[in-house]
Symmetry: C2
Subunit: 345 residues, 2 copies
């Protein structure tokens, strides 16, 4: 299942707010369409957002192909700025946009039509590469997954969160494909319910056994010895291995530590942000409280009562057993060990 | 606000499944009406269930008042059995029914009409006493609550979970009334959302500042030093202080310990079950997975994917800073210290 379709001109996104009840594709024909799809979380998941933003730059480039070069360059700069203003926490967004900016600044000697072609190919490359990267993450994670492992995951990190295959779900897919007989507990992941709606949907399609639980049940299941390991994705990993991921991840890491259960993070190198020394420096997106207060169109919090909606939290590196990337696995991540990835990245 | 109305003949229950969107009263005119209201969680909260069951015995007694005494005694025994089969975890239900049974067995020399009167008075007494007990819990808990405390609570333990005032919310109410300027974070408490729907509603009515969070945000807020203490209710407390409470409570206790935050349990003596040595022996009610998979009439988990719904979890006594009862506060509860309450109870 792919959630991002690109025909060279038009981007179509599987609307993840409607899944699993409706399969609805959102057509993005302008930069603004793409930016809004990211903001409204019709597309979500750090790697998927990165690829989508790259396609956004590509759509923008094509729309500006009649401009003079100097106008084109400042225009495409504005396109990148707009796409970067969509969501603050996942670094893959900025990584993909920066990759496009670098490409442009290294090729300012080209004509505008040539530049547009180059931009389009680069966006397509980012998407192609993402799938290969995820498959490598899956292969690299495999040795960490025992036979018959009962795996807890949070949010959605699969085909729907990437271009295809997935990060944490990629490791689970690779384990399943290798005959390891794994089974999955999917945290429903309030408030957006990505686990209940998306992870359960993907795993069901792949016939990987999955059971949905509320986020509040994870500790109980660990205590009852029903969970062998936890694996999650990441939206940003800092130089010391601290990891921002969907709200609720940090609680799982503390619970895993309390129960002596391994806690793994699976993410591409593009999620690493060596510009930040530690997770304290990560900006946490605060989304609308209505996304907590209203479920399926029904208000569950009385009018006038405030709600909070930090979309992410930060898990300190000392709660992380290993970070699994396409360039290898870092056990007990810290600044020194993470530097190994920096060299490879 | 009272959720249980009794006019001496008919019981009316504020339907807690409809709150806060609709104020709807359920009329219970038969034992079966009462049993179903408990089963379907139209009334919930351990002390409220206890009082409701007592009124159920009272309704049953009145309906059987024309029976011969021996028939009446075996009939009322069946009434008690039916009410006891509604929910397995909260012990207050069994405590209230046992209190009615004891009253009957101690008064078999009375005529049936006199017995019916006695039963009716006893049910009313249980309800009256519950309010006084909660106020005592509130007073006893007061010294544990600092000025300006930011308090995290789970599920609903207020007027709607008791006959009035509440257990954990009773302590919060007492703190507020004493001018301590407390504020509350209410876990929404999936799957039934008692925190978002009921706790937020009650505290708003009392003008106690409350903010709703998803259950998955508690760890993040503790890490950000936004929470000074956790206080919850209980459905059953065993001889060693292990505490069964709404699913998600155990995770909060682990998180509180990790962050060095006090974790308090507030409950009446009727919640203590000295027949069980430890929490391992508590039966955990497994409710319908549909209560997780369907929110506000909308299915969030794909058809065919299983979900779990343990309604409670057990927090071991060593994660509990203190248990607050109407007979006093037990710090660092264990079998020895809990025995002090047994003598007082």
């Amino acid at each position: 299942m792919q959630a991002i379709k690109w025909n060279g001109q038009r981007l179509e996104l599987l609307d993840q707010l409607q899944l699993p009840n409706q399969i609805e594709w959102v057509k993005c024909e302008s930069v603004e369409d793409v930016a809004e799809a990211i903001e409204k979380m019709k597309v979500r998941g750090a790697p998927a957002i990165g690829a989508t933003a790259a396609f956004g730059v590509s759509i923008g480039a094509r729309a500006g192909q009649e401009l003079q070069k100097s106008d084109f360059l400042s225009y495409i700069d504005g396109v990148c700025d707009r796409l970067a203003r969509t969501r603050p926490t996942a670094v893959n967004l900025f990584w993909a946009i920066q990759r496009m900016r670098n490409l442009i600044s290294q090729n300012t000697d080209l004509d505008v039509p040539e530049l547009v072609d180059l931009i389009q190919r680069e966006a397509q490359n980012i998407a192609y590469e993402d799938v290969e990267i995820n498959k490598s993450i899956g292969r690299n994670g495999l040795p960490l997954i025992p036979h018959n492992a009962r795996i807890l995951t949070h949010c959605n990190t699969g085909s729907l969160a990437t271009v295809d295959y997935g990060t944490a779900l990629g490791v689970i897919r690779a384990s399943h494909a290798s005959g390891r007989q794994v089974s999955v507990y999917a945290d429903e992941t309030r408030p957006y319910l990505q686990g209940a709606r998306l992870t359960a949907f993907e795993l069901q399609q792949d016939q990987i056994p999955v059971t949905v639980i509320t986020d509040s049940m994870a500790g109980h299941l660990m205590k009852e010895e029903q969970i062998d390991l936890v694996i999650v994705g990441a939206d940003r990993i800092t130089a010391n291995g601290d990891t921002a991921n969907k709200i609720g991840t940090y609680s799982l890491a503390v619970l895993a530590k309390h129960h002596g259960i391994p806690f793994y993070v699976a993410a591409p190198i593009s999620t690493l942000d060596f510009a930040l020394a530690s997770g304290d420096q990560i900006e946490i997106e605060q989304r609308s409280p209505d996304e907590v207060a209203i479920i399926a169109g029904k208000r569950i919090v009385p009018e006038g009562v405030p709600a909070l909606h930090p979309a992410f939290d930060v898990t300190p590196h000392d709660l992380i057993t290993a970070i699994i990337t396409e360039k290898g696995v870092i056990l007990s991540p810290d600044t020194e060990r993470m530097a190994i990835l920096r060299k490879k990245g």
